[in-house]
């Protein structure tokens, strides 16, 4: 009896054999992975690269890279007050988000500090999906008190694939999703697949032509196979985070807990950030009805509450400045580089940095970055001149062109 119970319990504890979750696409990714380079993304086993980061980057920029975004947190928000509720949670004006449209947004705690950023999909007058990096169920539920909304966690139920790159539209057309070419940036549409329905949105994280395909958990493998057989002649290639990260830096997109610390993660009070301090001031709509953190954000704007600024840097030389300290005139510490690469597209050494005002706001010249380049067992300390430049570092016409060029 006792033994029975024990073995029954043991059977339920097989998570120990699989300490990391696997996305519904995992069998295909695992099969393609030659480099076996993995990292942990929100509890999931996710590829850093599958073959070679350079080749994957090249696919993203020249043909069609496929990146599994299933670990993104997804919440379905619906009900008669869904719009009013989201308008209250988000700094951006949700009333202006049209049906079958998507927009990028962020949300703040009571003190105006950014909790997370993400994309908001609108499927109907009362139906939305929020897609983001961090778990938000608790925050959303707390905030929903008094609103007639239903919040459903659908991270596991919905799988997602990003198809990014110049041939991505062609791949989707080959796969039979005709009409996809008419999608404008941030527009979405539904398509039939295997008796069910999938959603394709013209969105992505590369600053390029690209789409995100959203399917139910059980349709994941069939959609993968459909896309890969359709894309064989158009350079479709599964990519890992390393290549994607390069593209997003070129596009100057920020990553929570990388380029800024999210409000729920910081321990030190000065580490949280207002939207304005991470380049998201353009999202904030003070003219709309009250939203969470509004008072604090506006007070910070009026007073001296904004202490940091996010900037793009061009660094001399070709050594990536990732993690480097930024100095003003080589003497005064002015901030830190949160992401930096040599950009093959821009042919420049680029970086995203967080500077402490007045550096970056009033003082905009004479910056240096201190790079520690590890060369065969020894650090070479490099003081490289850095110039504030406009973002994005790479701006591609094909990102917005509709219909996209065909291949």
């Amino acid at each position: 009896m006792a033994l029975d119970r024990l073995s029954a319990r043991k059977a339920l504890q097989n998570h120990i054999d699989h300490p990391l979750l696997e996305t519904p696409f995992h069998p295909r990714i695992e099969a393609l992975s030659r480099s076996q380079e993995w990292y942990v993304w929100a509890g999931y086993r996710a590829p850093l690269s599958l073959t070679d980061e350079e080749m994957e980057y090249t696919a993203l920029r020249n043909s069609c890279g496929v990146f599994d975004i299933s670990p993104m947190k997804k919440y379905r928000i619906s009900g008669p007050d869904a719009e009013a509720f989201l308008d209250y949670v988000m700094v951006r004006n949700v009333a202006k988000l049209g049906i079958d449209r998507v927009h990028y947004t962020c949300w703040c705690n009571d003190f105006g500090h950014v909790i997370d950023d993400g994309t908001l999909f609108r499927f109907g007058p009362e139906s939305f999906r929020l897609c983001c990096q961090e778990r938000q169920y608790e925050w959303l539920s707390d905030a929903a008190d008094g609103f007639r909304v239903n919040i459903e966690e659908e991270t596991r139920a919905v799988a997602g694939l990003a198809l990014q790159g110049p041939t991505s539209c062609r791949v989707l057309l080959n796969a039979g999703f005709s009409g996809v070419e008419a999608l404008r940036p941030f527009q979405l549409a539904r398509f039939p697949h295997e008796g069910g329905e999938i959603v394709i949105s013209r969105t992505g994280f590369t600053g390029d032509l690209g789409y995100e395909v959203w399917v139910s958990h059980d349709a994941a493998l069939s959609i993968w196979d459909r896309l890969f057989s359709a894309g064989a002649l158009h350079g479709i290639q599964a990519v890992g985070y390393g290549a994607l990260n390069r593209c997003r830096i070129e596009a100057a997109f920020i990553v929570p807990n990388q380029d800024f610390m999210t409000a729920d993660h910081v321990l030190r009070p000065d580490r949280a950030r207002f939207p304005d301090e991470i380049g998201l001031d353009w999202l904030v709509d003070p003219a709309k009805p009250y939203f969470n953190g509004r008072r604090a954000i506006l007070e910070a704007r009026e007073g001296k509450g904004l202490r940091h600024v996010l900037v793009g840097l061009e660094v001399e030389g070709n050594v990536p400045a990732d993690g480097a300290i930024v100095y003003h005139r080589g003497k005064h510490e002015a901030g830190i580089v949160t992401a930096g690469i040599w950009s093959p597209m821009a042919k420049r050494n680029i970086a995203i940095a967080s500077l402490d005002r007045p550096y970056g706001s009033d003082i905009t010249k004479d910056f240096f970055v201190e790079i520690y380049a590890l060369r065969e067992g020894r650090y070479h300390k490099l003081m490289k001149r850095a110039t504030i430049v406009s973002r994005p570092f790479v701006k591609l016409e094909r990102r917005t062109k509709t219909p996209p060029d065909d291949f």
Partner: protein
């Protein structure tokens, strides 16, 4: 849409205080009260033909002198005698605590009387230091003002002036439980029981719960007619006192409207702009003072999208479940309590045998059951004020602990059962009392919630415990009467310094508003 300079929501004594002061400052002020009566929980009501009772508050013990001065409050109804307290004991007879919380104690040994005097002196001294902080807006963390510093310094100085020992002892005692202190100083169970009862009345703690001594300090910070810790029965019932507040507000020129329940606080982009009444009528004003329970103000009246979510969560988490039931009896004749001299029937009569009795009465309340052997304080208001009952008849008013807000079995069946328990208890101490009952009104916390619009039916509009005091009353971001909603202020018992008929929350809120937030 009508408009004015200031709207006060809630016509309890705190709302009336705030309205009087705002109107006196020249602001066109309208007070809106939901019920047909002003005074909030301080009302005199007819419970049977010819019988009038106070409900649910019945005794005055902390009406603040600064409120009397600021409102020029007519306190004629308090011109009677300070009531003694008689703690009953069927075996030993009652102990009597007279004057300002026991200037004289009778019915105990001379040693015990001396021990009580020593403890009383110590508690009054400590309470006098705490009182300083109850009489002003709580300090704000990180924004401590000169006035705050002055008060900290003065409190520190008077503490040190009593010698290092006293200072150390106060720090030791501050967060202790009342039972341990009573055991340390006293040996008479009746006196210990009184302290245990008084420390926990209206608070969800038993005498052995940590920090329960704070409730006693709070009581001792109150004074009436210059006597600290003294208690009075207002002539004409507690409603007479409410009438005095009402008159003060009228004199100052405030417009007082009854049967005007506010259903919404109107706001735009987080700024209060007015209110909407049940009939749909709207009144606009740049200044709204909510002299009602904080949960009612923020969760029922303000739109959810107009305040930050973290703040609203804090408000939801305010603990505010009442524990006290109010019993009013219309009696055919004046009851006789065993062992109590006829003239001492005017006393506040406390039924609590010992600390353990109070503690054991508390235990079931933790699990959603009423006390099978409750503790209570009783007054016989018609004895000193015959106008409250027909000739020869009498009224009895009692506050009974513990009667949890959320009764597991439900109050529908619980209420008659609890009433029987209380009447049985009264019969034990005043034989035959229950057979003279003409009418009985028992108000449980849910009744009080419904009848007086006090969420939870809680004495203080929110537990008066250490985590909900001072800079955390009702929550940190609304602790200085201003709230995260611009133009909306709090002024009820739920705000600092807390409940009881003191008028201080209303006074301090109005002063804070009139001083422009300094």
């Amino acid at each position: 849409m009508t408009s004015c300079d200031a709207i006060v929501i809630g016509g309890g004594h705190n709302g009336l205080t705030a309205a009087a002061l705002l109107a006196a400052s020249g602001r066109k002020t309208i007070l809106l009260e939901a019920s047909a009566h002003l005074g909030g929980a301080a009302r005199t009501e007819e419970i049977a033909p010819g019988f009038r009772a106070s409900g649910p508050a019945h005794l005055v013990n902390r009406l603040d002198p600064s409120v009397i001065r600021a409102l020029k409050l007519d306190t004629a109804c308090l011109s009677g005698k300070a009531l003694p307290t008689a703690i009953l004991d069927l075996a030993w007879g009652p102990a009597l605590v007279r004057g300002a919380y026991g200037e004289v104690v009778e019915g105990v040994t001379p040693e015990e009387a001396r021990a009580f005097a020593a403890l009383r002196e110590k508690l009054f001294f400590q309470a006098s230091l705490l009182k300083r902080f109850l009489a002003r807006t709580p300090p704000r963390l990180g924004k401590t003002s000169l006035g705050d510093m002055k008060d900290f310094a003065l409190a520190g100085l008077s503490l040190i002036s009593q010698g290092r020992e006293e200072a150390r002892d106060m720090l030791r005692m501050l967060l202790m439980n009342v039972a341990d202190i009573a055991d340390e100083y006293l040996s008479d169970d009746r006196l210990k029981a009184l302290l245990a009862f008084d420390a926990t009345l209206g608070i969800h703690l038993g005498p052995r719960s940590p920090t329960s001594l704070l409730g006693l300090y709070y009581r001792l910070t109150g004074e009436t007619n210059g006597l600290p810790g003294a208690q009075y029965l207002p002539r004409g019932g507690i409603g007479s006192l409410a009438r005095a507040f009402e008159d003060a507000a009228r004199r100052a020129g405030a417009g007082l409207r009854t049967e005007a329940p506010v259903t919404r606080i109107l706001s735009r982009q987080g700024r209060a702009e007015g209110v909407e009444l049940a009939g749909g009528e709207r009144i606009s004003a740049p200044l709204i003072v909510a002299a009602i329970h904080p949960k009612a103000a923020f969760l029922s009246l303000a739109a959810p999208g107009e305040m930050d979510a973290g703040f609203r969560k804090q408000i939801r988490n305010i603990r505010s479940r009442g524990n006290v039931a109010k019993l009013d009896l219309a009696l055919r004749e004046m009851p006789r309590f065993t062992g109590v001299k006829p003239e001492d029937h005017e006393a506040r009569i406390v039924i609590a045998r010992n600390i353990r009795h109070v503690e054991e009465a508390f235990n079931p309340a933790k699990y959603g059951a009423y006390s099978p052997d409750p503790v209570m304080e009783i007054t016989l208001p018609s004895l000193s004020d015959p106008s409250l009952a027909p000739q020869g008849a009498a009224t009895l008013s009692a506050l009974v602990q513990y009667a949890p807000y959320e009764l597991k079995e439900g109050w529908e069946t619980g209420k008659p059962a609890f009433l029987k328990i209380i009447l049985d208890c009264l019969d034990r101490h005043a034989p035959g009392l229950s057979s003279t009952v003409i009418a009985a009104r028992l108000l449980t916390p849910p009744d009080i919630e419904a009848e007086y619009r006090m969420p939870g039916g809680h004495w203080h509009h929110g537990e008066l415990q250490v985590d909900q005091l001072l800079i955390n009353r009702p929550v940190d971001r609304a602790s200085s009467y201003a709230t995260p909603m611009e133009g909306l202020y709090l002024a009820s018992a739920g705000a600092h310094p807390g409940g009881g008929l003191s008028g201080l929350p209303g006074l301090l809120a109005a002063r804070h508003i009139l001083s422009g937030g300094r």
